[in-house]
């Protein structure tokens, strides 16, 4: 997957987890938590959806890499490069 595709995939996952949030003005370099109402249950779901959709494992120690859209892409790019 390209970085752009990964970005789209994350947005798609967030829209499933939090359909009540407006994602059109998200800044990619700012923490998702600062822009959206996402709690720890929602972050667990981002991890779970990544596993369900792309068979990617994100260990709990790495949850910090999912802070912003940019950091998600940087962290996931090597894991998803062959998809």
């Amino acid at each position: 997957m390209t970085n752009d595709q990964i970005n789209q995939a994350i947005l798609q996952i967030i829209s499933v987890i939090a359909p009540d949030e407006d994602l059109s003005h998200l800044k990619s370099d700012v923490a998702l938590r600062e822009q959206l109402e996402l709690d720890s249950m929602d972050f667990l779901d981002i991890v779970m959806e990544l596993r369900k959709r792309y068979k990617v494992e994100v260990p709990e120690a790495d949850y910090g890499h999912l802070a912003s859209l940019d950091s998600c892409v940087a962290y996931l790019a090597p894991k998803l490069k062959d998809l």
Partner: protein, 463 residues
């Protein structure tokens, strides 16, 4: 032949079991929910009698917030279960009241209205009450490791008027307290937020609408629900549940077992349990409920309150009654008085009072039926202090007792809020057996769903 092994087996198709099943099946676990009854819902089920449809437990759903409200439990449930507000179709209440002799506290789904009401009726308690509200707001009631505190003691540090204390405890205890006299403070906070800070609502179709939405979702994500399929025992070997034996003699196996049957009830299914030791842990708080189907809505008789929590004595007593029923306090619910877009099909009024399981269970027929006939006018006598006389408009009456609740739900003593000691983490003495629902500690419909969700997340999905 259905499969005999699952990743997770869930005992009970109530709100918590169905919610756990949705989470687990959505994330690709093989899941089977086993339900002894032919109807789903557990303590929040429904039934038909005399050509009418009735809900078992649902007066109102607590925790109502308007769609899109951030951070609220109801919003979390929609998200976690991938449901939408349309699935539940909730209509907010009109207005409810706590009524004690000579005084009333009204509340609706706007918390500020309740705060003003308390200040107006108890001006000397204004600052104390506002401090209590701040303390409640800041308290993390979802902390699974919090140690239990006496609610009466904590609240007494803030409020110095015993009447106000009783008026606040009355609805919170009646709607969700498993222990007599006192209430654990975390539980008090859960109930305070869910009833006063958030609010009451109901689907026009009653609890069926919610159960239908959950069952449809379980099916949609690939989970299995087997009805009329009771669990006879959990075979224990080496600190684990090795097999689940059904009433039919069939045997199933699973990596993990969730049980919403109640803690004591679940332990009694385990082949390694000592039934004697469990008796002191049983829950005891149960209720009778009288439901009248009316030929016109209560509103037409001049009564527009949704729910009245009443108390006729000097003090409020929350305890197992010595007699069959304690009609001195209770709940009067008019399911018509929610803000529905069109009126509900059959107007009703529901009357609920504390009751003694032991006393009802000891009655043989026909004394059991006769006791209902004797208590009905005594209950009416109390509730008619608060509502217009509806008796001439009653077209059908049902009266269920703690014995009925035990019969249909399997919960010992018909204890609708389970055992007083809650297991917040859901863990048991067995590695792969977890408790969800009432005895995990989140009560009510929303609480039960949150319980199923959190136990599924904690014990299976996070692994």
């Amino acid at each position: 032949m259905p499969p005999s092994h699952y990743d997770v087996i869930i005992i009970g198709a109530g709100m918590s079991g169905l919610a756990a099943a949705i989470r687990l099946a959505y994330f690709d676990k093989t899941v089977c929910v086993l339900e002894r009854h032919y109807a789903a819902g557990g303590l929040n089920s429904f039934y038909a009698l005399g050509g009418y449809q009735f809900d078992v437990g649902l007066h109102a759903m607590t925790n109502y917030v308007p769609p899109g409200t951030r951070g609220a439990p109801l919003t979390k449930i929609y998200r976690q279960l991938r449901l939408t507000p349309e699935d539940f179709g909730l209509a907010p209440q009109y207005q409810s009241e706590v009524r004690f002799p000579g005084i009333s506290l009204r509340f609706n789904n706007d918390f500020e209205f309740f705060v003003q009401e308390v200040i107006e009726k108890f001006p000397a308690q204004k600052d104390n009450f506002l401090r209590l509200v701040r303390h409640i707001r800041d308290y993390d009631e979802l902390d699974l490791d919090a140690k239990p505190l006496s609610g009466r003691q904590v609240v007494a540090r803030f409020l110095t008027d015993p009447l106000l204390v009783d008026m606040i405890f009355c609805p919170l205890m009646i709607y969700g307290n498993a222990e007599e006299h006192d209430m654990e403070f975390g539980q008090f906070v859960v109930m305070f937020k869910s009833i006063f800070c958030e609010g009451l609502a109901r689907p026009r179709e009653g609890v069926r609408r919610i159960i239908t939405a959950l069952r449809r979702k379980v099916r949609g994500v690939g989970g299995t629900v087997r009805m009329k399929c009771g669990v006879r025992s959990l075979r224990v070997e080496g600190g684990r549940v090795k097999a689940v034996e059904l009433d039919s003699g069939e045997t199933l196996t699973a990596g993990v077992i969730f049980s919403s049957a109640g803690y004591v009830e679940t332990m009694r299914l385990c082949t390694d349990c000592d039934p004697e030791k469990l008796t002191p842990l049983e829950g005891r708080m149960s209720f009778i409920e009288v439901i009248h189907v009316l030929d016109k809505p209560m509103k037409a008789l001049g009564h527009d309150a949704t729910i009245i929590f009443y108390n006729t004595g000097k003090e409020f007593h929350y305890a197992v009654p010595a007699d069959l029923v304690d009609p001195r306090s209770g709940v009067i619910c008019c399911p018509d008085n929610f803000l529905f877009d069109k009126p509900i099909a059959k107007p009703m009024i529901r009357l609920t009072c504390l009751a003694s399981f032991d006393r009802w269970a000891a009655l043989e027929q026909p004394a059991y039926v006769q006791a209902k006939a004797e208590w009905l006018p005594r209950i009416h006598q109390e509730v008619l202090k608060f509502v217009p006389d509806f008796r001439a408009h009653s077209r059908f009456t049902d009266f269920f007792t703690p014995r009925t609740i035990k019969h249909w739900t399997g919960h010992v003593n018909g204890a609708v809020y389970g055992a007083p000691g809650k297991l917040k983490t859901g863990r048991t003495h067995l590695d792969n057996l977890f408790i969800c629902g009432n005895d995990q500690g989140f009560l009510g419909i929303i609480g039960a769903m949150l319980s199923g969700i959190s136990m599924a997340n904690l014990h299976v999905l996070k692994k």
